[in-house]
């Protein structure tokens, strides 16, 4: 049984506004791969030339730690930036998911 990602996965976008600054998280995208993520990030987050450098990362690859933010859903694993239903690969034979 092959594994099928249900939808375009979630990517997080980081932009360096200009030379000398850090990359800053600006938002997210749903796209199929890194190349699409970069192109769409350029169109969505730098329409007014607000960036010289873009990083994109699959949200599923980000580990997070935020001890002040206490939702028991995230304990004890220090992963997942947020609850997101399509982080998970579901085999394509499973109904109603």
């Amino acid at each position: 049984m092959s594994t099928v990602k249900r939808d375009w996965p979630l990517w997080e976008v980081f932009v360096r506004g200009k030379r000398g600054l850090n990359h800053v998280h600006v938002g997210s995208l749903r796209v199929a791969d890194a190349e699409m993520a970069l192109g769409n990030a350029r169109d969505l987050y730098t329409r007014r030339n607000e960036g010289v450098s873009i990083w994109v990362v699959r949200a599923a690859d980000i580990a997070a730690s935020s001890p002040q933010e206490k939702d028991p859903f995230f304990a004890p694993a220090a992963d997942k930036v947020y609850r997101h239903p399509t982080f998970y690969d579901i085999p394509d034979g499973v109904p109603n998911i």
Binding site: D7, S28, L29, R30, D33, I54, K70, D71, F74, Y82
Partner: protein, 319 residues
């Protein structure tokens, strides 16, 4: 309970709730609903103005309108991203829009009959949106407030281009001046309805204010919009279609006439001039685009590790 106390304390101190915070289920649900409907409004809002891109009367007006509509798409995207931080899935949200289970701002159910409508939308509809959105930059949910900040930075161009378009027409021919007045007559009252029902009839307001999702009531924002807009109408030389509109010295605000709330109810309920057309257009775009989504996934799968072909292709430099 410690979690509830922490949540309420964060809100009481005017600090932001972030995605990994515990929150009441009702807060999560109402935020998903509000953010999703705001996102849907931006996407549907592309249609009435997109209608005029090919017919805008000069290259400059076409370029401006293209940029504005592109911005609206972007605003929808920022908001879908914010909704997803709560555990929603934008594909499901789109499904709810298409099936009528989630709504969008009633204003976009009206038609754009002339090019003057494009100007009036920028002036009045975006003006009302700005009135609503600036306070939301301090809404309690972090990702939503940050999306609002980004949106507000882009929105002032939208209002200015509309107002400038109208100024240009008002300095033109008699026919152009009549067109501007006609557009104003049609869009004024629906713009006032954008702020929602009167406070006494708005069931969600009390809880939204307690959770600092909403920072001002519907009637407060509506009054603020009227007060800001009347001098703009005077400067433009158009008459706002309300015989009861007059300055009240004692209150320090403009008095204005009664809004026809039955019209708002009808339009929200699906009986506006363009409801069916707006949703159908969105449904068709979604379904006609399915092959693109599938092709992109197939291409990506073919090029990932585990596929028979060689290494994954490195993404090219994006200009």
């Amino acid at each position: 309970m410690e979690l509830t106390e922490r949540f309420e304390d964060t809100i009481a101190r005017d600090q932001r709730i972030e995605p990994r915070d515990w929150m009441p289920d009702a807060y999560r649900a109402t935020m998903i609903r509000q953010i999703a409907q705001h996102a849907h409004s931006e996407i549907i809002g592309m249609q009435p103005e997109g209608n005029w891109i090919t017919r805008a009367p000069s290259l400059r007006r076409k370029a401006i309108l293209l940029a504005k509509v592109q911005d609206e798409a972007g605003h929808g995207m920022y908001l879908y991203s914010a909704a997803e931080t709560l555990g929603a899935d934008r594909t499901e949200l789109t499904g709810k829009l298409i099936s009528g289970r989630q709504k969008y701002s009633s204003i976009f159910n009206y038609p754009t009959l002339t090019f003057a409508d494009v100007g009036v939308i920028g002036w009045l509809v975006d003006g009302a949106a700005i009135c609503n959105q600036v306070p939301l930059c301090r809404s309690s949910y972090g990702p939503y407030a940050r999306a609002m900040i980004r949106i507000c930075k882009e929105e002032s161009f939208h209002q200015r281009q509309g107002y400038e378009l109208l100024l240009t027409m008002m300095r033109g021919t008699d026919a152009q001046r009549r067109m501007v007045q006609d557009a104003t007559d049609r869009w004024w009252w629906p713009s006032l309805m954008m702020f929602g029902p009167p406070d006494g009839e708005s069931p969600n307001t009390a809880q939204s204010m307690a959770w600092k999702i909403k920072r001002h009531t519907n009637d407060e924002l509506r009054q603020r919009f009227v007060d800001m807009t009347v001098p703009q109408a005077d400067a433009l030389g158009v008459r706002l279609p309300d015989p009861d509109l007059r300055w009240n010295d004692r209150r320090g605000h403009y008095d204005f006439g009664a809004v026809d709330w039955s019209e708002l109810k009808r339009v929200i309920g699906g009986a506006g001039p363009c409801n069916a057309q707006r949703v159908e257009h969105r449904r068709a775009a979604h379904e006609d685009g399915a092959w693109v989504r599938e092709a992109a996934l197939a291409y990506a799968a073919k090029h990932t590790e585990g596929a028979e072909s060689a290494e994954p292709a490195a993404p090219r430099e994006v200009a």
